[in-house]
């Protein structure tokens, strides 16, 4: 823009673009969609930052970050071209920068508070985080991890998802001996089994996990706590235990015909494709099959992942069936946009009524009904209501149920005095402490199904509290606190 050349100080109104694979190309592969920015673009983007100073009545980028990354400080270093120092600042608070630089809903968090964003597009903070993490990995700057002196305290972390990895990373940095137990053969939890390769390459998760391992964390894969040792048994050997076992239990519609062949939970579908690499069948042994038309029920990020995965597996049409309207779609806008670009059809204001099968027990159709929005419900969103008599049929050979997940019951079931809520989550206080002394919980097992970054925020708070418990203050809230929490939530 010539105007800009004259006044170089003038703010560039939009984020510098993120190069992407074209929709036509990317629906044919599982490679990552955004390709990442180069160093020059990152520096230019960083120069859009005004380096706001905190003030009494101001909400700044940092206030929106669940793990409290010192955002202006790291951006300043990017402006100076000092990437090494910039990523070091991020790593002070953030154990999985390459992951969060990709999957964080920054538009509602740091970027949502960005002052530049009041009148223009906010500074692309997420992109900068991603750039720095990728830069670090490619430079192999991972070599220098400073080991702190040992405190002699032992901590067990159950579940190597975003919450558990954060706790492990933070406590290892403080000199505690951390042992992590993970049920699956690879670490990462939802990052590995849930989020598809084209949004988060598994190589990146592996590198981040490797970083944590090299910080001195001992990792035991294939270990299902509750079936092997219980939390009580862990407490005999460890000074503190963190439970981050996630929301692994798929929710069902409970409609007629749901157990027909071809109908599966989003968890099964994504686990087959992502964890077991069924998209590379028969090079990998786990099979997956999609029919000509795939109908995904639900409107969240998981539903978008299912619908977009289906296109890549070669279905002719991928349809999202969601009972509210576009404005209420719980998925991130970016995900909805990507899905639309790739040709996913949105059948909005429609809900399934039953599933119809053929003679061999395979699903062939979904009967659905049109919906309209009424008054807001408890969630604040307008309540969907059936329009009687508006039933219609969609042919489908594959149906994916992506309407949510519930907390994994294994640890609560095998830990008798761990208080849970009505929803089955573990009751925790502000610091993540549970009703059992020495045991913390965080992530989806404590909050219900939420996001990666909120789980990391939980992990961060729990790690602080655990550190205090391990080093100075062994006090614990009274049992009544948890009685109350388990009723309230």
């Amino acid at each position: 823009m010539p105007e800009e050349e004259k006044k170089p100080k003038r703010l560039v109104p939009k984020k510098y673009p993120m190069p992407e694979q074209s929709p036509q190309e990317r629906v044919k592969n599982f490679n990552e969609v955004p390709l990442g920015q180069d160093a020059q673009t990152a520096i230019q983007e960083s120069q859009r930052c005004l380096q706001c100073k905190p003030g009494p009545n101001r909400k700044l980028c940092m206030d929106g970050c669940p793990v409290e990354i010192e955002i202006p400080r790291f951006i300043k270093k990017v402006q100076e071209g000092n990437f090494e120092e910039a990523i070091r600042i991020i790593r002070e608070k953030q154990n999985l920068p390459a992951v969060c630089g990709r999957v964080c809903p920054y538009e509602n968090q740091c970027e949502g508070n960005c002052i530049v964003g009041k009148k223009n597009e906010p500074v692309g903070i997420g992109r900068l985080e991603r750039f720095l993490a990728d830069w670090e990995r490619n430079q192999q700057k991972h070599g220098k991890i400073q080991m702190p002196p040992s405190t002699g305290k032992k901590v067990a972390v159950v579940g190597a998802g975003p919450a558990g990895l954060t706790v492990a990373g933070d406590l290892a940095k403080l000199g505690h001996k951390v042992t992590m137990f993970e049920a699956l053969q690879y670490c990462g939890g939802v990052l590995i089994y849930g989020i598809p390769e084209f949004r988060l390459p598994k190589e990146i998760v592996r590198a981040e996990v490797d970083y944590i391992r090299r910080s001195g964390v001992e990792i035991h894969n294939d270990h299902v706590i509750g079936k092997l040792d219980t939390v009580d048994e862990l407490l005999k050997e460890y000074d503190a235990v963190f439970v981050g076992t996630g929301a692994g239990l798929p929710d069902w519609t409970n409609l007629n015909g749901e157990n027909l062949n071809g109908i599966m939970s989003a968890n099964e579908y994504l686990t087959r494709v992502n964890l077991m690499k069924a998209f590379k069948f028969p090079e990998y042994d786990t099979p997956i099959r999609v029919g000509e038309r795939v109908v995904t029920i639900g409107g969240g990020n998981v539903a978008m992942d299912c619908a977009r995965t289906s296109l890549r597996l070669g279905c002719k049409e991928s349809v999202i069936l969601y009972r509210r309207s576009d404005a209420e779609l719980p998925a991130r806008r970016e995900e909805v946009h990507h899905a639309q670009e790739e040709g996913v059809r949105f059948e909005l204001l429609a809900a399934p009524v039953k599933f119809i099968g053929d003679d061999c027990g395979n699903v062939k159709q979904v009967e659905a009904i049109r919906m309209q929005l009424g008054e807001p419900d408890a969630s604040g969103r307008r309540r969907p209501m059936k329009i009687e008599g508006s039933n219609f049929i969609i042919d489908a050979q594959t149906v994916l149920i992506a309407i949510g997940q519930s907390p994994n019951p294994l640890v609560p079931m095998t830990t008798p005095d761990l208080k849970t809520t009505k929803e089955g989550t573990i009751a925790v206080d502000q610091e993540g402490r549970t009703s059992k002394k020495g045991v913390w919980a965080g992530g989806d097992i404590a909050s219900g199904a939420a996001t990666v970054i909120l789980a990391m925020g939980d992990g961060k708070r729990a790690a602080k509290s655990m550190h205090r418990f391990l080093t100075e203050d062994k006090s614990w809230p009274a049992p009544e606190v948890f009685e109350k929490l388990s009723c309230e939530m």
Binding site: A183, L184, Q185, Y193, H220, N221, D222, H223, V224, K227, L228, D229, G248, L249, P250, W252, N254, E258, N259, N261, G262, M264, S265, N267, E268, T271, R272, L275, M276, K277, F281, P282, E283, Y284, D285, T286, P287, R289, C360, G361, N408, P409, L410
Partner: protein, 277 residues
């Protein structure tokens, strides 16, 4: 990456492999009736396999598999000293053990591998164990002596009459019922059709019947629902709610249909595996 070393490999029949694998943490916790998820190699599939035995002293678990598909064929080629990529367990709920009285346990085919630790546990719990085992022919009878060693009464059946009763395990059960034998519990493990027949026989007599199901699983820990089965009209997960269920409440038709979900892919994987040799 942790690997799990095979300490002993043995062919029980030309198509049944028995592997004893080092996994002290699992052996320490395993109970009769539970299963483990096995992934032979990094590109492999996770499949649920019966635990045929476990020894906390030796720190090993023993699995037995009928070589019907690519993954089990791959296991069938493994020798002592080889390692499997991933081993997760013990999974599922253990067999509910009480002093029931007279327990009739019935096993067929590869189900006999699971039956052994279960009947051993029934006997240790103070039950009178009446065990009926069956196979197509004498050569395919596995765990015969092991099961016999924990039997108070013992019956062998073969489809071709090469050993024991010429006919099905269900014939012997019918005969016991006809003779007014006191039966407190029936336990059945084997092919779906066998378990269904047994459940149909005991139902009119109101004999509590437990069956051990074998649905297709992916994670085996309650995450995915691939293994969902219909029990008394309600959806349950084979991996965490089972694998044992009340045989009178199981929707066997649905289980049969669901277990056929991936037959074309299974055949393709098998073809590739045999041709690659």
């Amino acid at each position: 990456m942790q690997m799990y070393e095979i300490v002993k490999s043995e062919k029980l029949t030309p198509d049944v492999i028995k592997l004893e694998i080092k996994a002290p943490h699992i052996a320490r916790k395993a109970k009769a009736g539970q299963f483990i998820m096995v992934t032979p190699s990094e590109h492999g599939e996770r499949i649920p396999l019966t635990m045929a035995d476990f020894s906390p002293e030796k720190g090993t678990v023993t699995i037995a598999a009928l070589e019907v598909g690519k993954t089990t064929k791959q296991l069938g080629k493994m020798k002592a000293g080889d390692s499997v990529f991933s081993l997760v367990g013990p999974l599922g709920l253990p067999t509910e053990l009480h002093k029931y009285g007279n327990v009739v346990s019935i096993g067929g085919g590869i189900g006999l591998a699971l039956m052994y630790p279960v009947v051993r546990a029934f006997r240790q719990a103070g039950n009178h164990t009446i065990n009926i085992i069956g196979a197509k022919n004498e050569k395919l009878l596995i765990y015969e002596n092991d099961i016999k060693s924990v039997s108070d009464e013992f019956f062998v059946c073969t489809d071709d009459g090469s050993k024991g009763h010429h006919g099905f395990v269900s014939d012997v059960l019918k005969k016991l019922i006809a003779e007014n034998k006191k039966i407190d519990v029936v336990y059945a493990v084997g092919p779906i059709i066998m378990m269904k027949v047994i459940a149909n026989i005991t139902k009119p007599h109101n004999i509590h019947t437990v069956v051990s199901l074998n649905p297709i699983m992916v994670d085996g820990t309650g995450m995915c629902g691939s293994c969902r089965v219909i029990i008394d009209g309600k959806t349950k997960f084979g991996c965490v709610d089972g694998p044992e269920f009340d045989g009178h409440k199981v929707d066997f038709e649905n289980l049969t249909a669901r277990n056929k979900r991936y037959i074309p892919e299974e055949q393709l994987a098998m073809k590739r595996f045999t041709e690659a040799k």
